[in-house]
C-alpha cells in the first residue's frame, strides 16, 4: 500500500500496534514449550509443519489463484528424498536436506506444467491425480520400501544441540516457519506477489499490463513445492521414520481445509488454520467418527457462512459495527486531474511517422469473419477514433493488436517492427497499453496496487533477486510506490489509494483504469469505449485527460460510440462495418460519407449533412 509522506499519526498507530503484537507473539511462541508436556509438544511440532505446508498452499492458491492438490506429494518428496539419501546412500542430514529441496522444486515444476494449459477444476483433478500417482509410487517402489516405510533417519546435527529432543526441535521448526512466513509475506507485498495477485484476479488484464502469466504460474508452483519440501525434510528429521500413510489424499484435504478455514488470501490465516485444525484434530482423536463428523460440518459451515475464513471474521464484525454506527464509510473525494508534463513524443518516435501499421488483418470466429482485410495506420502523436456499429469488429481489432487473439492473416507492425502473433505481455513491453470496454480492474487489489502492477516493467526472471538480493527488491518497490503516489495524485485519485476498486463509483473506476494504463508508460494507448457509462461532466474531463495524455507524448487510438466525443477529440476517424474499413479521414469528411451513413442508418437513409449527428443514438448500454 502506498503511503503518502505526510501520514497522519493516527494512521501510524495501528502499525506500531501490529509490530508490538508481532513481538508479543514471538515471545509467546518462544515460551510455549515450557508450558507443554511431551504429548503436546509433539502436537505443536506437527502443527508447525502443517503451518509451513499451508503457507505454501496459501501462496499458490490464495495468492496466485492456482489450484494445487499435490502439496502433500511435495511434502512426501521432501521427506522421502531425505530418508533415502540419509539411510541408503549415507549422506549427512543437511546435504540430503539441500538435495531434497532441489528434488521438491523439480517436482513442483513438473506438477506446475499442466497449469500452463489448464485451470480451475481441470487443474484440480490433474494435480490430485499426480498426487495419487506419487502415493502409488511410494507404496510400491522398492527404493521407498513400500508399505513398511523407511526407518532410522538420523536427527539433524546442529552445533552439538540434541535435536532428537522434541522440545529443541520445536525451536528449529519455529525458526524455519518464521523465516518462511516472512519470506512469503515479503513476496506477497512486493512486485512478484503483486503480479501473482493481479493474475489471480484477472489474468487477461494482468497480461495486458505486462505480466508473463505462464512463468508466473510456474514460479507459484515451485514456491509452494519448496515450502512443502522444507516441511518434508523437517518431518523426516523429527520422526525418524516415514511411511506412505502420512502422505494420503485425506491429509491433502485436511491441509486444504486448514487453508480455506484459516483464510486462503492471507498467509497468517493459513498458519492460524493449520494450528487450529491440528489442535482440534488431536483433541478429538479418540472420538474418530464423531470427530470426523464435526470436522466435516465445521468445514461446510465455514465455507457457507465465512468464505474469507477465520481471518475474515473480524473485518465482517468491523463493517457491521460501522453500519450500526451509521457512518457511511469514506469521505474520500475525486480531485482534479493535473495535466501530465508535455513532451513532443516518446523517445525514438517522430510525430507524424507511422507508429502502428495494420495491414490486411483477418480474424475469423468459426464461420464469422470479424476482421476482413483491415488495414490502417496510426501516426505518432495523433488521436485516432475508430467507430462503427455494434459487432463491426472494433474490439476484435484491439484484441488482435494487443495479442489476445492470433490473426488469421495480415500483419501488424509497431514502430517498424513486426508485432503480430505476440503474447499480450510482449505487446505490453513494446509500449502498448489498453483499457477494456467492460472494466477489468484487479478487484482484490487496492487502487495503489492496481497502479503498481502496471508500473512494474521488469521481466519475470528479474525475480531471481528474491533469492539473493531482497534489499534491492525492497528499494525498487519503494521507488515504484513513490511513482504510483505521484501518478495517483496527477489523476486526482490520491485519496482512494488504499481502497478496493469495487467500492468506488463507476466514473472513478473508469479513471483508475485509464491511470493504470498510463502507469505502464506506453507509447500507444488503446481506449475501448472510455466514455461508456460516464455522465456529461465526466465525459468532458475524459476529453481533457485524453488530450493531456496525447500531449505528454502518447499516441491514442479510441473506440467510441459517443459521436460528440469522437468528433471533438479525434483528428482522424476510421469507420468499420462488418469487419471492413468503409471510410477513413477527417471527422467532417467521414460524417458526410454515404457509406458511413448507410452502415449506421440503412440503405434508405437520405445522405444529408444533417444526418451526421444521428449515429450517437446507437451508444451501447451494458
Amino acid at each position: 500500500m502506498s503511503r503518502s509522506p505526510s501520514l497522519p499519526a493516527a494512521l501510524r498507530a495501528p502499525q506500531a500496534a501490529r509490530a508490538g503484537g508481532l513481538v508479543l507473539l514471538a515471545v509467546l511462541a518462544w515460551l510455549l514449550p515450557y508450558q507443554l508436556n511431551v504429548y503436546w509438544i509433539s502436537v505443536a511440532d506437527i502443527a508447525i509443519l502443517f503451518a509451513l505446508l499451508a503457507v505454501g498452499m496459501g501462496l499458490v492458491m490464495g495468492v496466485a489463484g492456482q489450484v494445487n492438490l499435490a502439496q502433500i506429494a511435495f511434502f512426501g518428496v521432501g521427506a522421502y528424498t531425505t530418508a533415502i539419501l540419509t539411510t541408503r546412500d549415507g549422506y549427512g542430514f543437511w546435504t540430503a536436506a539441500v538435495l531434497a529441496m532441489i528434488a521438491t522444486a523439480l517436482a513442483g515444476a513438473v506438477v506446475g506444467t499442466p497449469a500452463l494449459r489448464v485451470q480451475s477444476h481441470y487443474l484440480g483433478i490433474v494435480t490430485l491425480g499426480l498426487a495419487v500417482a506419487f502415493i502409488d509410487w511410494i507404496t510400491n517402489a522398492p527404493v521407498t520400501n513400500g508399505d513398511s516405510g523407511i526407518s532410522g533417519i538420523p536427527a539433524p546435527p546442529l552445533l552439538g544441540i540434541n535435536l532428537s529432543s522434541q522440545y529443541l526441535y520445536y525451536y528449529l521448526e519455529l525458526i524455519v516457519l518464521a523465516g518462511g512466513l516472512a519470506f512469503g509475506l515479503f513476496i506477497v507485498h512486493t512486485p512478484l506477489g503483486r503480479r501473482m495477485r493481479a493474475m489471480r484476479d484477472d489474468p487477461l488484464a494482468a497480461s495486458a499490463a505486462g505480466t508473463e502469466i505462464r512463468p508466473l504460474r510456474m514460479i507459484a508452483f515451485v514456491l509452494a513445492s519448496v515450502y512443502g519440501g522444507a516441511a518434508g525434510v523437517l518431518y523426516a528429521g523429527m520422526i525418524g521414520y516415514i511411511a506412505p500413510e502420512t502422505f494420503s489424499i485425506a491429509d491433502m484435504f485436511l491441509l486444504l481445509a486448514m487453508v480455506i478455514i484459516g483464510g486462503r488470501r492471507s498467509l497468517a490465516g493459513c498458519v492460524i488454520g493449520a494450528v487450529v485444525l491440528t489442535v482440534v484434530q488431536q483433541q478429538l482423536i479418540n472420538l474418530a467418527a464423531y470427530a470426523q463428523l464435526g470436522y466435516g460440518l465445521v468445514v461446510v459451515a465455514v465455507v457457507v457462512f465465512a468464505p474469507a475464513g477465520l481471518v475474515g471474521i473480524p473485518g465482517r464484525f468491523r463493517s457491521l459495527y460501522r453500519r450500526w454506527r451509521g457512518s457511511t464509510g469514506t469521505s474520500a473525494v475525486l480531485e482534479a486531474f493535473r495535466p501530465l508534463p508535455v513532451a513532443p513524443a516518446a523517445a525514438g518516435v517522430t510525430p507524424g511517422e507511422p507508429l502502428l501499421e495494420v495491414s490486411h488483418l483477418v480474424r475469423r470466429f468459426r464461420g464469422v469473419t470479424a476482421l476482413d482485410d483491415v488495414s490502417l495506420t496510426v501516426r505518432a502523436g495523433e488521436i485516432l477514433g475508430i467507430v462503427g456499429p455494434n459487432g463491426s469488429g472494433k474490439t476484435t481489432l484491439f484484441n488482435v493488436i494487443s495479442g489476445f487473439y492470433r490473426p488469421h492473416g495480415g500483419a501488424i507492425t509497431l514502430n517498424g517492427r513486426p508485432a503480430s502473433g505476440m503474447r499480450p505481455s510482449q505487446v505490453s513491453r513494446l509500449g502498448v497499453a489498453r483499457t477494456f470496454q467492460h472494466l477489468r480492474l484487479f478487484g482484490n487489489l487496492t487502487v495503489a496496487d492496481n497502479m503498481l502492477v502496471s508500473l512494474d516493467r521488469t521481466r519475470t526472471w528479474w525475480s531471481w533477486r528474491y533469492l539473493c538480493w531482497p534489499f534491492g527488491i525492497w528499494r525498487y518497490d519503494r521507488a515504484l510506490k513513490r511513482r504510483a503516489a505521484e501518478l495517483l495524485a496527477d489523476f486526482g485519485l490520491a485519496q482512494f489509494a488504499g481502497m478496493l476498486p469495487g467500492t468506488l463509483p463507476y466514473g472513478i473506476q473508469r479513471r483508475l483504469e485509464l491511470a493504470r494504463a498510463i502507469a505502464g508508460a506506453p507509447r500507444l494507448l488503446l481506449l475501448d469505449e472510455p466514455a461508456a457509462g460516464l455522465n456529461g461532466e465526466e465525459r468532458a474531463q475524459l476529453a481533457m485527460i485524453v488530450r493531456s495524455i496525447r500531449d505528454s507524448g502518447v499516441t491514442v487510438v479510441l473506440i467510441e460510440h459517443n459521436m460528440g466525443l469522437v468528433m471533438s477529440l479525434c483528428e482522424r476517424i476510421v469507420v468499420l462495418d462488418s469487419g471492413l474499413v468503409i471510410a477513413e479521414g477527417l471527422p467532417a469528411q467521414v460524417s458526410r460519407d454515404p457509406a458511413v451513413l448507410e452502415a449506421y442508418l440503412g440503405k434508405s437513409a437520405v445522405p444529408s449533412p444533417r444526418a451526421s449527428k444521428a449515429p450517437q443514438a446507437s451508444e451501447a448500454s451494458q
Binding site: M61, V67, T113, P114, R117, V118, S120, H121, Y122, G124, I125, V126, L128, G129, L130, V132, A133, F134, I135, D136, W137, T139, N140, I249, A250, F253, L256, A257, I260, R264, A288, A289, Y290, Q292, L293, Y295, G296, L297, V298, V299, V300, V303, V304, P307
Partner: protein, 289 residues
Amino acid sequence: MQSFFQTLVSGLSFGALYALVALGFSLVYRTMGLVNFAHGAVLMIGAYVASTFYLSARLPFAVAVPAAMAVTGAVGLVIERVLRPLENKDFDLMLIGTIGAGTVLQAAAILIWSSAGRGVSSPVQTAPFDVGGVRIPAYNVVVIAVTAVAMAALTLFLQRTKRGTAMQAVAMDHEAATAVGIHVGRSNAISFAIGAALAALAGALVGPMLYVSPTMGDSLGIQGFAAAILGGFGSIPGAIVGGLGIGVIGSFAAQSFQGYSDLVTFVVFTVLVMIRPTGIFGERTVNRA
C-alpha cells in the same frame, strides 16, 4: 491376443462404472455449475444402502438397487439444500465445501455401518460366458447393460421431457430461465437428486465387484472425475467415452505395471488433458459470461 481381450473386457466393465460416476459429475456441473467432490461419498452411501437392502432385508438385487437409488436421491435433496450457497461460486470454495460434505457422509457411514467394510455376493450366479477363449463374467455384462440403459434414459429425459429441457435452460442461463418461469431452485434440486441416484446405481453395481467400505468412494470419485474431464466436462457422450477410456487405461496399466496402475493411469491422464484441455467432446459449461 486372448489376454489383450481379457484385459479389455475387464477395463470396459470398470469403465462403464466410471462412466456412471462421470455422468453424475457432469449432470450436476452442467445443470448447476457445481463441481461436486462429495459425489464419491454419495456413491458410497448408495452402495451401503443397496447392500443393506440386499443382504439384511433380503430383497432381490433388482429391487434393492432402485430402492437404494430412491433413498440416496432423497439424501441428495438434503445435501443440495446445504450446498446451495456454493453453486456458481469460486471453485476453491466449492472444492472444499463439497469435500467437507463428503467427510460428513463418510463419518455418518462409519457411525451407521461401522468402519469395517462388507463383501457383497454377486447376484448373478451364471457361469462366465466364453467368447473365443475370452471369459466374460455374467455380472460384468449386467453392469454394462444397466449402465447403457441408464445413459439412454437420462439422455431421453434431458432431451424429450419438459423438465429435462427446463434443466438444460437453467444450465445455459439461470437468470433467463427464471424470467421464463422456471423454478431454478427446484430444477437444481432435481438434478442433484438424479446425480445422487446415478451415484447410488454405480455404488450398488460396484458392490459385488469390489468391497463396500466407508472409503470406497474416494478412489472411485477421483477416477470418475478424471473420466468426466477426459471426455469433456458436462458432456454425456464425453462421460461415456471418458469413463471407458479411464477404465481401459487402468486395466492395461494394472496388467503391464501391476501395482503402479494408478501411477500410470494418472500420468497418461495428465498428458491427455494437456494435449486436449477441453476433453474429447469439449466442455459443456454453464454460461457465466
